[in-house]
Symmetry: C2
Subunit: 111 residues, 2 copies
């Protein structure tokens, strides 16, 4: 039987980098934090607000995302969008991901 | 143009968890550090000795791997093998990986 904590550490480690890539891909269309959170979870990327919101700020600081306040609705919302630099990173990470996926298929096929 | 450091951080983050899974899968057949390093790199899992060797010790400490010294050859070698607990973790991580891979395929198909 696996201890909860051990499992959770390794699952988090496996998922951590994928959330960055998922954000960069999804935010080619501008979106705000809560809607993005909901969308990622529905798409199968398990992430919670305490992880996602700081991550969005970090990616903005790294100039991988840009942000704009939308004040047209009653409640102002900060919309994030992937920058050109963010798209370049997304391309590189995507291709790395594809290589990893291929490596796992090969590995599992051989076992 | 992406700064080297930014790119390398994100690539490492994306790859980190996958090396654990790859080790647990490959070490269902016992193997020693250097041969494993070589095999992982040939299979497409970029990892260096400074990352892999401490990782093997960590996984052994977590009882996910067991080890045995093979002293039959001129140079004694420590062989690692995935434990039953390690196999259970590998199953869980594999299925999480498959879910993530499916989520990315869906996401990319929609963009």
């Amino acid at each position: 039987m696996l201890e909860e904590e051990l499992l959770s550490t390794h699952l988090q480690e496996l998922r951590r980098g994928t959330v960055v890539l998922a954000c960069l891909l999804v935010l080619k269309r501008p979106n705000y934090g809560y809607a993005l959170l909901d969308l990622l979870n529905r798409q199968g990327f398990a992430v919670d607000a305490n992880t996602l919101y700081p991550l969005l700020r970090r990616l903005e600081k790294q100039a991988l995302l840009t942000s704009d306040w939308n004040t047209e609705e009653s409640r102002p919302r900060k919309f994030y969008r992937t920058s050109a630099k963010g798209e370049a990173l997304a391309d590189t990470l995507s291709s790395d991901w594809d290589d990893l996926a291929a490596a796992f298929r090969l590995l599992k096929g051989e076992l």
